[in-house]
Every structure is written in structure tokens, then in C-alpha cells.
Amino acid sequence: MTATAARRPAASGPGAGAAGAGRPSPGPAGARRRPRIPARLRKIGLPYLLLLPALLLELLVHLVPMVIGIWMAFKEITQFYIANWGDAPWAGLDNFALAVDFNAPVGEALLRSFFTTCLFTVLSVGLCWCVGTAAAIFMQDNFRGRGILRALFLTPYALPVYAAVITWAFMFQRDYGLVNHVLTDQLGLTGERPFWLIGDNAFVALLTVSVWKGWPFAFLIVMAGLQNIPKELYEAAAIDGAGVWQQIRRITLPSLAPVNQVLILVLFLWTFNDFNTPFVLFGDSAPESADLISIHIYQSSFVTWNFGSGSAMSALLLLFLLVVTAAYLLVTSRGRKSSDG
């Protein structure tokens, strides 16, 4: 930058005089000593300069670990090398080959975990959105106690994840848990006490906790989106004879589209990557039915001490999420543009 400025004093434009006003114009030698930054560059440069600390921190906190993770995916980092990563031999694409060889046990387990996670995510995001949107629409009308109900609805979102999920883990215990006490002892719905933390029901338990934890966020965002819809629209629709359901379909939902676009994406990413909920519910080894991909990758690295293989799986997951996010944004933006047009 300095060199450019020194070499191109003519490019400084009208603002260049500001710094040197009232002084004789310095010769080429003086320009080399005190280089001046062209005003236009200064104008463009300032925001970047101010952003620099944030960019550096972002680099440090997010990008560097990601790059190291990707680097690890190409290394054979097992227990023999974890004390000295530099010595780990290059594995080339071996770690990736192992992860995507779906006929071998490791790849097969990863694929099954991937499908479980997809199903879990679709159901969880769908339910969170439905419950959150329904609650937000009901809360639009002014009635007594609305404030208290709104605050109450947000409680699961405000609670620390660990405290909330460990409480669910206690409630889901077969012999002494509250869930079975209500289902079996009080309502008599099941003959024998079902297990929730092991076996196939674990999926239902995980989904329940996930929706319980996630819907208040959907509620919050949709509620905020609803504030922006002009009341006149509903009044006009009512005069035209539209019922509640038609108003929701024709006014509320289309108006919420931009909000929903972001909401669904965020919920998808959070749910797909959720580690805390299954880890706190099931501990080190999740039952097969609830073996989400984040837990699976954790096990593939920390439990088998094969961090190279775990990193390769993480890199694949990152790639998948990037592709899905890009495709989603592309499709939804195009859809919105065409409907706007």
C-alpha cells in the first residue's frame, strides 16, 4: 500500500490536498518519506481497518480450528501419535475412504447414523416449527396473562442445556422416572414399563427433548415476524369474508416467508449438529436408534482414539452441511424472488 501510494501521487484525487493543505507540495523525495494514502482508498479502507480485529478473531476462533481439523483428516492420528501430532504419518485419502466405504462396518455405521440424523432432524425441525408457529399465532390476540404465558413458553430455551437434559434423563428412567410413572402407573397406557434410554424408544425420547428444547426459539422468531404484518391486511381480508384459516394461509404464512427461510435453516443446522442433548441423555455410547452423527463422530475419535478418522468424518459432515445450506438458500431465494416478481 505504501509503495503504491508513493509511486502514484497523481491518483490521490481531490481529497489529497486535505493532509497537505497550506503547505508547499512535497517533492518526490518528500513523498517517499511521508507517503500519503489516497482519499478514496482511505475511505474504502477505514471500514476494513475497523473490521480487522473482528476478522482476525474470527480467523483464530473459527477458521484455524477448521483448517487444523481438515489437515488432521489427512493424517493417521491415533493414540501412538497424539502426544506429538507432527510425527503422525500422512494417510492420504485413507481416512475418507474408510468413512465412505459403506460395505465395511465403519462406513455402514456412519451411513446408518447419517440417515438416523436426517430423520431426526426432519421430524424435530418440523415439529419445532409447527408448535412454535401455532403458539405464536395464538399469542397474537391480546388476552389476560399473555405476557406470563409468553415468558413461560420461553423457559426451555432459557434453561442451561445440561440442567434441562439431565432432568429429562431422570424423568425417562424406567423404574423410577416420572414419564413411566405417569404413562404406566397413573394412566395405565402401557402394560409393562417401557425403556426410554436404551433400545428403540430412545429415538422418541431424544426427539421429545429436542422439540421441547427447540420450539421456543421458533416461537420467538415467528412472534417477532408477526409483529411486522400490517393489521390492515387482516381487516381487509375479514371484510372480504376470509376465515381465520384462510387468513393464516393467505396472509400470515406468505408474510412470514423471509423469517421462515432463516428460521428453518438455523433450526436445521442446530438440530443436525446437536451434540449436547444425546450426550447428556445417553452418555458415551448412544443406543443405535438414537445414534446421531455428532455423537457418532465423537465416538469414532475419542473412544477409538483415532482422531484422523473422526476428522475425516467431520470434514465430510461440514461439506454436506455447506452443500445443503447453499442449495437451500439458492432454492428459497429464487422461489421468493419469483413470487415477489
Partner: protein, 439 residues
Amino acid sequence: MRRFRAACMTATVTALATVVAGCGGGTSTSGDGGADKPKELVYWASNQGPSIEADKKILTPRLKKFEQETGIKVKLEVVPWSDLLNRILAATTSGQGPDVLNIGNTWSSSLQATGALLPWDDKNFDKIGGRDRFVDSAVGSTGAEGQDPAAVPLYSLAYALYYNKAMFEEAGIDKPPATWDEMVSVGKKLSKDGKWALGAEGSNLSNNIHQVFVLGQQHGADFFDAEGKPDFTSDGAVAAVKQYVDFMAKDKITAPGNAEYAQNQSLQDFAKGKTAMVLWQAAASTFKSHGMADDDFGVAPVPVASGTPGTGEQVNSMVAGINIAVFKNSKNLDGATKFVEFMTSDTEQVHLNKTYGSIPPVKAAQQDKAFDRPDTAVLRDTLLESAAPLPQVPNESQFETAVGTAVKELFADAAAGRAITDEAVKTRLAKAEQQMPKQ
């Protein structure tokens, strides 16, 4: 304008300086990393007592005594079992670990392979009084054969059969079972009216491994071949796992609810009189903390297939225990070695093992009268005569997870009422074997 620009520059430079300082800060002021000062040590203790707090109360006076003797201050952190291995792995990876730490003795070989722990060659052993001070079986669980141990035995433990005397009397049983056939027949008498004979921790992977390893020995299976390769699907291994899960699936002497136990709930059930027997290591102090008196429960050797406990197929316990290790990159190796010497001294060994209900791996300390009590005598004799160490191979901790999970899943199947066939057991074990890292 110039002043504004100067202000911006100052702000940017300050921010950058903070970032750079932040990066550098980690190395010089590591929160829980090894102590830099020569007169200070960081020690990670494992949770041996009824709670973390209890452990702190037990250990702090000992550390004070060490400080008085040597002038070295020890910063103690008691790490729960659920976190210990991950914390050690993180410390190994980052090089920011404690100076001295406790490890489960079964992890010795796995951690030895990382090269993060100080090898205990003869020179180092001499600093703490020599290798001969320790019981052979305990030293056998400190690392792979043919290599210098990665740690020094600290507390030794063995499995025993704990039984509820009142429940036995009520069911008209006069002595604890000595063979598995007796266990099943006695168990059927005890399992009625919402009460069950034998407790299990079906979702606790390590405990599953300890139980099936011993049954495996009794069936002549080792889980690893002579070259250290996994061999989980041998007939003996399948029979061992099936026998253990069948206590719930076929014999119905273990409550189905135990399939999801992983937090020592079976000990609570025992203390509450809901379960008549558990197979456990040094459980006496836990039972007492749950309100049982010394006379309420009896202790006997773990049953065998037939005959009496001994070596080979008569093995009835793993060599359980805790080892103490030194982080190789500790900046205070000398102090760390001194601390190990202190913790393994005869006096401390008697005191600590008495408090925790474990057996000292130090021969001289074992002679103390405190270890002649009926419950500790069973543990001591088992250790001396009929305990075998878990496989000392680098992949031991992966084995615990893979096979432990297979047993957990089989328990889940059994609890759901599915039949546990040889085929089902073999399929799960084959899957576990495939998950083991290639060698």
C-alpha cells in the same frame, strides 16, 4: 480527521495486541496445567470415595503432610471417572497436563502407547524403593509386557460377591453361592415379589467388560490372541457374554431395569433390599454410606463354574485397581517422583487403602491388621490367588468400549424380552471386533 484516524489506529493496535497476548497467554498461565514452580505440583486424583468432596477431605491432610515433609505444595483436583480418560487424552494432546495423575490400571497399556507418561525403569523405581516392594499381580497391570511400566500401582482391588444376609435368611438360604449353578438356583428362590437376586450395571461399559472378561477366562477365552489381535468371537467369548446376559434373559435373576443402570444404581438397590447380591469391588464403604451396617451384608468370593477359585479357568476376578503416573513433560519430574514415593510409602498405603476399602499393592503395607477384616480379606486373597489382569494391549480401552457396548445392547435386547441366542451374541461381538482399529 487526523486525530480520528490516530484514534482508530490506536484502537486497532490495542485490539491486535490483545489478540496476540491472548494467544501467548495460554502457555504461561495455564489454568490447570502442570505447575511451573519447582515447589508446586498439580495432581489429578480419581474418585475413590463416596463423592468428590469426600475424596478432597481424605486427600487434603495427606497432601499437607507431604508439603511439610518436602516443602512442595500439591494442587489437588479430583476428576470424576466419566471425565478422567478424556481429560488425560486432552492433556496428552495439548502437552498441558498435570504433573502426577491417577489412571485406571486397565488403561495403562493404552496410555503407555501415547508416550505421554514417564516410563518406570529400574532407575526410577529405585527412587521409590524398588520394584520388589510391590505385589507382582499389581505390577502386571501397569503396561504392556516387555516394556517399562507406565505407572506405579497405588490401590488394588478385586471383585467379590456381596450378599444381603437378611434376604438370604428370609429365603432359607444358608450360604452364598460358590458356583454359577448354585447362583442360578439360589437366584430363582430370591427373585420374587418385586425383589431380584443379582444386580448388574448393564449400561456401564467398563463394568460389563470386567464381568465378561472373568467369565471369558472361565470359558478359556482371552478376547485377544497371542499377537495382541482382537478375538472376540471365539466360542468361549460368546459363551461368556451369553452367560452374563442370560442372568437377565433366561435365568431371570436380574431385574430388566438394570439394563439401563450406569450410575451405580445397583448398589442403591442392594442397600435398599431390592437386590440380594452384587458382584463389585470394595463396595463396603458405599453400602455404609447408604445406611447399611457391617453385619447387614456378607462378602464371599465370586462364583466359578465348579471347584474353588484359582488360576486359569478358575479365575474369579480381574486385577482391578488404580495406578499413579507421572506426566513425562512435567517441569518438576523430581518433585513428581517424590510425590509418588510418598503416596506409595508403607504408612500412606495403609492409611489410604484402609480409608478407601482397597488393598495396598505394597507388600509390607498388606501385612497390616486393617486388611484382615472379613471383607478386605476376601479381596486380598482373591488378588493373591485367583485374579488375572485385563489384556495388556494398546487397544485395551477401545476393547472396553466396543465389547462393553455390545454387552449393553444385548442387555437392552434382553430387557425388551428378545431372546439372546448364540447367533445374536456372536453378531454383536463380530461387529465390535470390526470396530477395533487396524493394527
